[in-house]
C-alpha cells in the first residue's frame, strides 16, 4: 500500500497540479488564437509578469492576508490580475493592433509576440534579478500530511496549502469561464467572432471591444496561473520557456479554439509528464518475490529522466499534429 500512496503523491497530486496550471495557461492561448488567429508566444511571460506583480505587492503589503488567515499573495491576486489584464490590453494596443491594421500574415504576429516575450523578460529580470524568490513573504507554507486509516500504510499523502488553493481556483475559473461564454452577451459575442469574424462584425458586434475583453480574460487567467505556480514552487523570471511548450501542446491537444478542450489538454499534458517521469519499478516492488529475476532487478523503470521532462509535451505535440491536427475536440488547424 505504501507504493500506492507514493503513486498518489507523485502522479495523481503532482499531475493535477501541473495539469491545472497548464490548463489555465492553455485557455488563454486558445482564446487569443480563436479571436486573433495567431499563436501568442508571449503568454508564458504574461504569466510570469502576473506572478511578479503579486510578488511586488506582497513585498509591499506583507500582512494583507493575516486578518483572514490566507497568504498575502492570494489576497493581492485580484489587484495583480487587473494589472496584468491592463498590461495585456496595453501590449495589444502598442504592438499587435498596428500590425493587425496592416493585415500582416499570422506568422508576423507570432514574431511580434516573440519580441514582446523578450521585452517582458528583459524588464522582469532587470527589476527582479535572475534568482528565484518565494512568494510567501511573511506567511508560512502549510503542508498537510494525511495518513490513510489503513493497516501497514506508513507514508502519508502530502498536499500543500497552495495546491489546495490551486484546485479551488482552477474549478472556479472553469465554472466562471463556462458561465461567461455560454450565458453573457459578451461571451456569446466572443464565440460568434471566433466562428466567423466578418459575420460577427456585420451583425453589429464591436470587434474592438471583443479583442480587448479577450486580452483582459487571457491576462487575468495568466496572472492566476503564474501566481499559483510561483506559490507552489518559487518565482523565477525564466519560468516562461519551460511553460511555453506544454501550454501550446495543451492548447493543440484540446483542439485550438476550444476553451474546454484546452483545459482537458492541460490535464492530459500534465499527467503525461508525471506518468513519464514516474519510476514504475516502485509499483512492482510489492510483487518482488513472485516476479522473474530480470524484471524484479530492473532498477529504474521511468520512461524519461526528470531532466528530459520537456521531451514529453513535445512528443505529445508532434504525435497529435501528425495523427490528428484538429486535436481531440475537433478544433481549428492553426
Amino acid at each position: 500500500m505504501n507504493e500506492l500512496v507514493f503513486f498518489l503523491n507523485n502522479v495523481v497530486i503532482a499531475g493535477s497540479v501541473t495539469g491545472s496550471i497548464y490548463a489555465i495557461g492553455a485557455v488563454g492561448v486558445t482564446l487569443v488564437f480563436s479571436i486573433m488567429r495567431f499563436a501568442h508566444f508571449a503568454h508564458a511571460d504574461i504569466m510570469t509578469f502576473g506572478a511578479f506583480m503579486v510578488m511586488l505587492l506582497a513585498t509591499a503589503f506583507p500582512t494583507a492576508g493575516a486578518a483572514i488567515g490566507v497568504p498575502a499573495a492570494l489576497v493581492l491576486l485580484p489587484v495583480a490580475m487587473a494589472l496584468t489584464a491592463a498590461l495585456a490590453v496595453g501590449i495589444d494596443r502598442a504592438f499587435y493592433k498596428p500590425l493587425r491594421a496592416h493585415g500582416v500574415k499570422p506568422i508576423v504576429m507570432v514574431i511580434a509576440s516573440l519580441g514582446v516575450t523578450l521585452m517582458l523578460q528583459g524588464l522582469i529580470r532587470l527589476f527582479s534579478g535572475t534568482g528565484g524568490q518565494s512568494l510567501y513573504v511573511d506567511d508560512r507554507k502549510e503542508i498537510f500530511r494525511l495518513t490513510l486509516p489503513l493497516e501497514g500504510v506508513r507514508v502519508p499523502v502530502v498536499i500543500t496549502e497552495p495546491q489546495l488553493y490551486l484546485f479551488v481556483l482552477t474549478i472556479a475559473c472553469v465554472v466562471g469561464l463556462h458561465l461567461f461564454l455560454s450565458r453573457s452577451r459578451l461571451g456569446k459575442a466572443m464565440r460568434a467572432m471566433s466562428d466567423n469574424p466578418d459575420l460577427a462584425q456585420a451583425s453589429g458586434i464591436n470587434t474592438h471591444t471583443i479583442v480587448a475583453v479577450t486580452w483582459v480574460i487571457a491576462g487575468g487567467l495568466a496572472a492566476i496561473a503564474g501566481t499559483l505556480l510561483s506559490l507552489d514552487v518559487t518565482f523565477k523570471p525564466d519560468l516562461s520557456f519551460f511553460l511555453l511548450l506544454p501550454i501550446f501542446a495543451a492548447a493543440i491537444v484540446g483542439g485550438v479554439g476550444h476553451p474546454f478542450g484546452a483545459i482537458a489538454g492541460g490535464f492530459v499534458v500534465g499527467f503525461a509528464e508525471t506518468l513519464a517521469v514516474f519510476n514504475w519499478g516502485v509499483l512492482l516492488r510489492p510483487f518482488r518475490d513472485s516476479l522473474p529475476e530480470w524484471l524484479a532487478g530492473a532498477g529504474n523503470l521511468a520512461f524519461v529522466g526528470t531532466e528530459y521532462k520537456i521531451v514529453v509535451p513535445f512528443f505529445i505535440l508532434v504525435a497529435i499534429l501528425v495523427w490528428r491536427p484538429t486535436g481531440i475536440f475537433k478544433g481549428k488547424v492553426i
Binding site: M119, G122, L126, T130, G299, N300, I310, L317, L321
Partner: protein, 433 residues
C-alpha cells in the same frame, strides 16, 4: 499590367545609395567600437559577428527564401558546437584503453536492432495482422524495448562517467568537426523537416522551439558524451592560438578564416538565388498552390531548403564553439542563439543576403554594446538617486544591466516589424517582362 509598384520593383542598375550609406554607417560604428574598446576586444566582437552571420545566412534562406519560420536555431548551433568539440578535442586514453568502447558499441547495436524490430512491427499489417492489433503490438513492443535499451545504456554511461569522465574527442583537425557539424545539423534537420514541414508556420515555430530545447537537454545531461555542465575546454583553433601570436593577431587570423567561409557561402547562395532553383523556391514561397500547379514538388523543395539552412547553422555553430574554445551546453540560450539571429535577419532584410550580413554585424554590435551602455545609464541613475533622495540601489547592477540586452532585442524585433517590415535592405523583387 501596371508596373508602378515603387515599393517592390527595383529600378534597374541604379546607384546602390542605400547600401553604401548603411554600410558606411556600419563601418563608422565598428571603428567607433575599436576606438573605445581596444583592438583585441573589437576583433573578438567581429569574429563572433562573423560566426553569427553564417547562422543568419542559414536562417535567411529558410525564412527569406522559403518563408519557413525556424525558431530552433539554437538546437542546430548546439549540434554544430558539439561536433566541433568531439572531433577536435584530444583522444581520451582512459576510455579507449578500457573495454568500455566495446560495451557502448554493443548497446548502440542493441538500439539499432530494437529500432528495426519496432519498425518491423509497424509493417505487420502486410502479413495480414489487423491494423488495430498491429498498432497495439508496435506500441507495446516499442515501450518495452525502449526501457530495456535505456537501462542498458544507463549502465554503460554510468560506467564511463565513473571510470573515464567522458568519451573524449577524436583529435582530428578542426575543419573536420565543422564539416561534420554541418552534416549532423543537416541530418537532424532532415528528420525534423520530414515531420514538421507539412505543418503551417505557427506549428513549425512551436515545434522547432521545442526541438532546440530537447537537443540542449540531451547535450546538457549526457555527461558521458559532453561532460555536461562541467564543460569541455580548451577547443583547438584552426589558426595559431592567442598564446603563440598574441590576442589581436590570432583573432584577426580567425576572422579571416570566417570571412573566407562567409564569402564562399555568400557567393553560392547568391548564385542559387538567381538560378532557376532559387526562382522555384521563391515561387513556392509566394504562391504554393500555383507552384504546385506548375508541377513543382513542394514538399521536397521545402525539405531541401530547410536542410540547407540547418547545415549552415551547424557550420556557424561549430565555428562559434571553436572560437570560444569552450563547449558549454548550458550556455546555449534561446535568446543568444535563436532570437538574436532572428533579429539579424528581419532587421537586415529577409531574402537579401547582403542585408543579412549587414543585419548580423549591426545587431551584434547593438547586442554587445547595450550591456555596457545600460550599466552606465543605471550607474548614472543610481548616482543621481543617491544624491537627490538617498535611494539605496541593489548591489548586483552588473548582472541586471546584462538583462537590458534581452529588452533591447525584443524592442528591436517589434520596432522593425512596425516600421521596416521588409528590413533595412529589402529583398529586391525582380519582375520579368
Amino acid at each position: 499590367m501596371d508596373k508602378t509598384r515603387p515599393d517592390t520593383v527595383a529600378a534597374p542598375r541604379r546607384f546602390p545609395l542605400r547600401e553604401v550609406v548603411l554600410f558606411a554607417a556600419l563601418l563608422l560604428a565598428v571603428l567607433g567600437v575599436y576606438a573605445v574598446m581596444g583592438a583585441a576586444y573589437s576583433t573578438r566582437m567581429l569574429v563572433e559577428a562573423a560566426c553569427y552571420a553564417i547562422l543568419a545566412l542559414g536562417l535567411t534562406i529558410q525564412w527569406g527564401y522559403a518563408g519557413q519560420f525556424n525558431a530552433g536555431v539554437m538546437g542546430f548551433v548546439a549540434l554544430g558546437g558539439f561536433c566541433a568539440m568531439t572531433f577536435s578535442v584530444p583522444v581520451n586514453e582512459a576510455f579507449w584503453g578500457s573495454e568500455l568502447p566495446g560495451e557502448l558499441g554493443r548497446v548502440l547495436l542493441t538500439m539499432v536492432a530494437a529500432a528495426l524490430v519496432v519498425f518491423g512491427a509497424t509493417r505487420l499489417d502486410r502479413l495480414g495482422v489487423p491494423k488495430a492489433l498491429r498498432t497495439l503490438i508496435a506500441v507495446v513492443l516499442a515501450m518495452v524495448l525502449y526501457l530495456v535499451v535505456i537501462n542498458a545504456l544507463r549502465d554503460v554511461t554510468d560506467q564511463i562517467e565513473a571510470r573515464a569522465g567522458f568519451i573524449g574527442g577524436l583529435g582530428l583537425p578542426v575543419g573536420v568537426g565543422w564539416i561534420v557539424g554541418g552534416a549532423l545539423a543537416g541530418g537532424v534537420g532532415y528528420f525534423i523537416g520530414r515531420v514538421c514541414l507539412g505543418l503551417r508556420s505557427d506549428y513549425l515555430a512551436i515545434a522547432t522551439l521545442g526541438i532546440a530545447e530537447i537537443i540542449k537537454a540531451f547535450l546538457k545531461n549526457s555527461d558521458w558524451l559532453t561532460r555536461g555542465t562541467a564543460t569541455v575546454s580548451p577547443l583547438p583553433w584552426p589558426v595559431p592560438a592567442p598564446a603563440e601570436v598574441g590576442f589581436t593577431l590570432a583573432r584577426a587570423l580567425y576572422l579571416s578564416v570566417t570571412a573566407v567561409m562567409i564569402a564562399v557561402i555568400f557567393f553560392l547562395l547568391t548564385r542559387a538565388y538567381y538560378a532557376p532553383w532559387g526562382r522555384m523556391i521563391r515561387a513556392i514561397r509566394d504562391n504554393e498552390v500555383s507552384a504546385a500547379a506548375m508541377g513543382k514538388d513542394i514538399n521536397r523543395r521545402r525539405l531541401e531548403i530547410f536542410v540547407l539552412g540547418c547545415i549552415l547553422m551547424g557550420i556557424g555553430g561549430a565555428a562559434l564553439a571553436s572560437f570560444n574554445s569552450l563547449f558549454d551546453p548550458q550556455g546555449y540560450l534561446p535568446l543568444n542563439h535563436t532570437f538574436l539571429v532572428l533579429v539579424m535577419v528581419i532587421l537586415g532584410g529577409p531574402g537579401n543576403n547582403l542585408g543579412t550580413l549587414f543585419g548580423a554585424v549591426t545587431v551584434y554590435i547593438i547586442w554587445i554594446m547595450s550591456g555596457p551602455i545600460a550599466l552606465y545609464l543605471m550607474e548614472l541613475a543610481v548616482t543621481l538617486g543617491q544624491a537627490s533622495f538617498g535611494w539605496e540601489a541593489p548591489t548586483n547592477l552588473d548582472s541586471r544591466a546584462l538583462q537590458a540586452r534581452v529588452f533591447v532585442i525584443g524592442l528591436l524585433i517589434t520596432l522593425v516589424l512596425r516600421f521596416a517590415p521588409k528590413g533595412l535592405l529589402p529583398e529586391k523583387v525582380i519582375h520579368h517582362g
